[in-house]
Symmetry: D5
Subunit: 149 residues, 10 copies
C-alpha cells in the first residue's frame, strides 16, 4: 500500500490545474455546490470533502483519483507561520492585534462570558464598490458559545 | 515635569470607572460621538483621541485631566501576546489560521495583487438572532490597495 | 478613581487567606455553591464570579470589598508559560503530546469532523483508591461541536 | 543493511490502509487485544508494540514486514508543535491553560506534594449522549506519585 | 498535471543563468522594461510578473516555459528568517531598530496618525560617490495612509 | 550616590515636555543644532549627546539636570520587539522582508562583496507632495564597506 | 490580610542571612535534619518545608515568621530560563544534550520502556579527590517507572 | 567524490543493525573496548571514533566502510530540541530545572567559583535493585574547573 | 535582615559613580590590582570580587558597604538577550556566526577533539594604530581542553 | 540550465575530499594563497572566492567544476543556530555573554561611540604552548568605526 497523498501536495496540484485551465475559485465552488470560502479553504487543505465534492472538483480540474482521495481525508488544520507574515494575510493579524481586546470587551458586554465559535462558523468575502477605492469586506460569523459548566 | 500617564494605566482606570458607574461601551461611544469598536479600542489604548473626545469620555467616566491627556497621545499599537491566547480572542486567530490562505487567494482573484488595508479600515460587531443560538458577526472592511510601484 | 485590583493580586490574597484560616478549596466551593474545579479556577483568576459568589467567598476568607470586586471582573484567561512547566501541570501537557493525535483520530471516528468544546465544558478530579497506589482521575467533559458552516 | 522505517512513515501507511480497507481504530484495537487509545497512539508512533501486536495489526491492515518491524521500535515520544495547534487538539491545551493551576492546587490538597504520573497512566474516551448535544468525555487516570527523596 | 515550479526553484535557476550568461540585474530589468529593484525582487520570488515580462526574462536568460509559468504566479511574500541575519541585509534591520521609533514620531508629527504604505511603495538604490568612500543610498518611498475609519 | 536616570525614563520626560510645551521635534533639533532624525533618535535614547546638546535640549524642554545627565550616557541601542510590530514601524520591516534579498543582490552587483554601513550612516525623512496622496520618503545613506581582511 | 511572601523573596533573604552569618548550606541542612541537596533546593524555593523544618531554618538564619510561612508553601517548581545559561548550570544541560539520547537507549535496554522518575528521586553531590584535579560527582537516582497502562 | 555519510544516517544504520542482529549496546561497547555510555553516544553521533573502534563496530554490526568512515568524523554535538521533550530524556531536564540552582550553590560552596567540566567528563548508568522498585542511577563525573584568569 | 543588593543594582551605581567622578575603567582596575577586562566585567556583575577588591573599588568610587557586599556575591553569569543586539556587541556575535564553524575546524585540526575553555580563560582588548583607521584588537585566550573520559 | 550547487553541498564535498586526501586546512590555504581562517570559512561557505582561488582549491581537492563555480558565488552568511550550540563553538558565545558588556564599555572608553567592524576585520587562531596545558588564542581584529552622521 502507498501512503495517501498529503493535503499540501494535493493543494499544489489544484493550484496548478486551476491556473492552467483558467478556472476561478468561484467556478470550482459552484461545481462542488459549496460556499466560496469553504471550498477554497477545503481545496487548500483545511476541510475534508465528501466523496462527491472531491470527485466533482477533480473531474473539473482534470486531476486523478489520488488527489480525490487526499481531499477526503481529515486534515490537521492551521497555517505555516511563514505564510502568516505574507502582507495580504498579515493585515488581518494586525487588525486583530489592534482590535482584538476591544472585540472581547464588546462580546462580553453584549453576550456575556463566552466566545464566538470558530467551528460553528462561516466566513464571507465581498467587494464593495466605493468611489474612494473599492473595499474588501470580510465577515466572520460564528455562534456565540457561553462558558457553561 | 512628570511623564504622561501610560495608555495601559489609562485603560485600567477607564475599565474601573466604567464598571463602577455601570456604563456600557456603547454609552461611552455615543457620548464621544464615534463608532463603537473604534471608541472601545481607543479607550483601551489603540488610537489617539481628539481633545474633545478625551474630555467628553473623562467627564462621563469621572476621570481626571491626566487620563484625558494620556488618551490624546499617539500610542504604540498592538496587543500583548499573552492576551492573544485568551479564548475569546484566540478564536479569531484560529479562524485566520484556517481561512487566511483562502482569503488571500480570493482577494487576488477578485482584486488582483494587493491587500485589504488595515489602516483605511473599520470593524463592526453585531448580534444576529438565530433559533440555534445567536451569532456574533464581525465585519472587517478595508480599502483594497493594489501593489503599485 | 482607582484601578480594579488585578485578578492575580486577588488570587494571591485568596491563597494567603485560605492557608491562614485553614480552609480547603472544597469548603470554599461548598460555601459558594459551585463545582470544585470551577470555584478553584475562578478564585485563581480564570472565571468571573457573580456578586453573590464573590461576596460569599470573601466573607468566608475574611477578604475585603476590593477583592470581591476583582473576582467579578471578566478575566483574560490563560496561564503564564512558566507555570506550565511545573511538574504537576507538565504531566498533563506531556500526556497531551503523547495522546493528542490519537484523541483527534478517535473524536473524528466517533463524532465526525469537529471538536470537544472547551467552553461548554467541565472538569472533574477524583481520587480512586488502588492497592498499587491511589490514582488521580481527571475527567474532561465537553460538548461535541461539529464543523458546521 | 537498510535503516528501519521511521515511525511516522509507518503511521502514514497505517492511516492509508485503515481508510482504504474501511477499518475502524476500534476494530484494529480489538484485533490487537489492547485498549483503544493505547492502540491508536501506538500505531501513530507513540508506543512500541510487541511482535505479536505488530504482526496482528499488519496482517489486518495488509501491510508488510517492514511496517511490523517499525512498530516494534522504541519511539521518541511527543508531537510536532504544528499539530498541537490543530483546533481539535488545541481545545485540550486551552483547557489545560485555564484549569491547570486549579488542578495543581486540588492534587496538592487531596494527595499532598506530588504529581499524577503520565507513565503509569491511561486515557479513555467515550461519547455521552446528551439532549443538548452529545459530549466527548476524556478521562486521564494516572497513579499519584508523591515527591519522595 | 504537475505542480507549478516553486518561486524559490525559479529564483535559483534565474541566479544560475544570470551568472553563467554574465548578465547584470540592470540588463534584465531593462529587457523587462521595469524598475531595477522591482525586477530583481520579482525574479527572486516577491512579485508576480505579467506573461510578457516573464517571457522576456526567460528568453534573455535562456530558461524554459516552466520558469516563465512560475514567475507569473502570485507569491507568498516575505523572507526566510535565516536570510535576514546575513550581514548585508541585517544592517538595514539594525538601522530600523535604532531609528524606527524616531521615524514613527516624525511621520506622526508631519503627517498625523498613519503609516507609510509598503504596498503603494517603491524602493531605489543608488551609488553616491564620496571622497571618504562611496555610499549606498536606498530610498523608501511610500504613500502616506492616515488611519481613517 | 544615585544611579543615573535610565534613557527610557528620560525619553518619557522628553515626550511629556514636548507635548505640554507644544514643541516640534524639528524645533528641538534646531535648538540643538543637529539633524532631525538624529536628534529625535538621541532624545528617544539611541545616541549619547554632548553636554552642550543635552543642556540646550533640557533648557528648551524645561527639564532638570538629571535628564541632561542621562542624555549624555552611552546607550544600549535597539528597540523593544513589541515596538517593532507597531503598524507604522512594521511597514518598514515588511518592506525589508520583501526587498532585502534584492537589495543584497544589487549592492553586490554595484559595489562588490560588502555592506552598507549602519554606523557611518544617516537617515532622512521628507514629505513629497503627490496629487494621489503625499508620500513619505525615507532615505538610508550609509558608506559602503567591502569585506576586507 | 497580606499575601504570603513569595518563594523567591524568601530565597533572597535566606541567601543574605546565610552569607552574613557565615553559615554553610551543609550546616543548615544538618540543622533541618534533611539531605543537603534537598535542603538547598527547598530553601531556594523548590520544595515545601514542614513547619518544623521551616522554623528550624529560620531560627538558625535569624529570619522572621513571614519567611517561615513562605517556606511551607507549595511552590511552582522550575527555574528561570536565564538562570539555565549560567555556565555552572549550563554544563549539565550540555551534558544532557550530548548524552541524553544515549541514556534513553540504555534505560530502555536495561529496564524496558519507561523512565527514571524525577519525583521518586534524589540527587547527591560529592567531591572526589583526583591528582589531575578534584572532580564534581553528581548522582541522579530515580525509581524506574515502566509505561504501564 | 561523494560527501561523507552524515552522522545521523550512520546512527540510523547502527540502530537497525543492532536490532536485527540482536546485539546489546553493552556487547558493542565491549567489542570496541570503550565505556558503555561513551560508546553508545559515539555510535549515535556524538563522538569521533578511532579507525580501530569504527572498524570493530562495523564488523560486528555488519556495516560497510561508508559507515566506518562516518563514525570517525568530528561531529557537531548536541541534540535536536524535539528529542529533548521525549519523556525519558525530559525527566533529566526537569530534574535540572528543579535542582540546578542548588547544585550551583553547592559547587561554589565546596569548590569555589567555577564549573564541573562537561569535557573532562564521564557519565555512568547503573541499575540499583530496590524492593520498592529498581532504580536508575546516573552519575555525572566531571573535573572541577575554577574560573582562572 | 535585608536581601543583598542585586548585582545589576550595584552595576548601575558603579556606572553612575564612575561617570560623576570622571574615573576610567583602567583607573579602577589599577586600584583593584586586577586585569582591565576582568575588573570591568566583575563590576558589571559577572565575577565575584574578593573583599579587598570590593572595598578598594567602593572606596575609590565613594560607594557604601552595601555595594561592596554585593560585589562579593557569586553571580548568575550571562547577559540579557536585548543587550546582545546592541550594535557594538552584536558585531562580535556576527563574527562568531561567520567564523565559528571555521574556528571549530581549526581547533580540531590543531589540537584534536576538544574545546577552548571559557573558564580557564582571559580576554584582552587593545588599540592598534593603523593609518587606515585604528583597530580594535580583542584576544580570546583559553586553555585547550580535550574530550577526555 | 541547472541551478548552481549550493554552498553547503560544496562544503560537504570539500570536507570529504580533505579527509580522504589527508590534506590539512593549512595546506589548502597555502595553495590558495590566502589566510588560514579566511580560507577555511570561505570553503565552508562564508566568502566568495575568486575564480583562481576556487580553481586552485578544487584542483588540490580533486573536485570538479561545479564545486569551483559554487565557491565563487556570493553567499548568504551566517550559521545554523543548531551549530552554535556545539560545545566547541558555544564556548565563544558564552565568553561573549560574560564579557560582551565589558568589551562595549572599554571600546567606548578607548575609542568613543562606535563599533569594531566585522567587515573590515580579520580573525587569527594560534596555539600557545603553556606548561599547564597549551592554549587556544583567537584574535578578533577589526577597524574601529565611529558613529558618524
Amino acid at each position: 500500500m502507498n501512503p495517501i497523498m498529503s493535503r499540501s501536495e494535493a493543494a499544489d496540484l489544484v493550484i496548478a490545474a486551476r491556473r492552467r485551465l483558467g478556472l476561478s475559485w468561484a467556478a470550482i465552488a459552484e461545481e462542488i455546490g459549496a460556499p466560496l470560502v469553504w471550498s477554497t479553504a477545503a481545496l487548500l487543505g483545511q476541510h475534508p470533502m465528501t466523496p462527491e465534492q472531491a470527485e466533482k472538483a477533480c473531474r473539473l480540474l482534470q486531476l486523478d483519483e489520488r488527489v480525490a482521495e487526499s481531499l477526503q481525508t481529515q486534515p490537521v488544520r492551521g497555517a505555516d507561520p511563514a505564510v502568516m507574515s505574507d502582507p495580504t494575510i498579515y493585515r488581518f493579524a494586525e487588525a486583530l492585534a489592534v482590535y482584538g481586546p476591544a472585540l472581547k470587551e464588546l462580546i462580553h458586554e453584549e453576550f456575556g462570558d463566552g466566545i464566538m465559535s470558530a467551528i460553528n462558523f462561516r466566513v464571507d468575502i465581498a467587494r464593495r464598490p466605493d468611489p474612494d477605492g473599492d473595499r474588501v469586506v470580510v465577515t466572520f460569523d460564528g455562534k456565540f458559545l457561553d462558558y457553561r459548566w
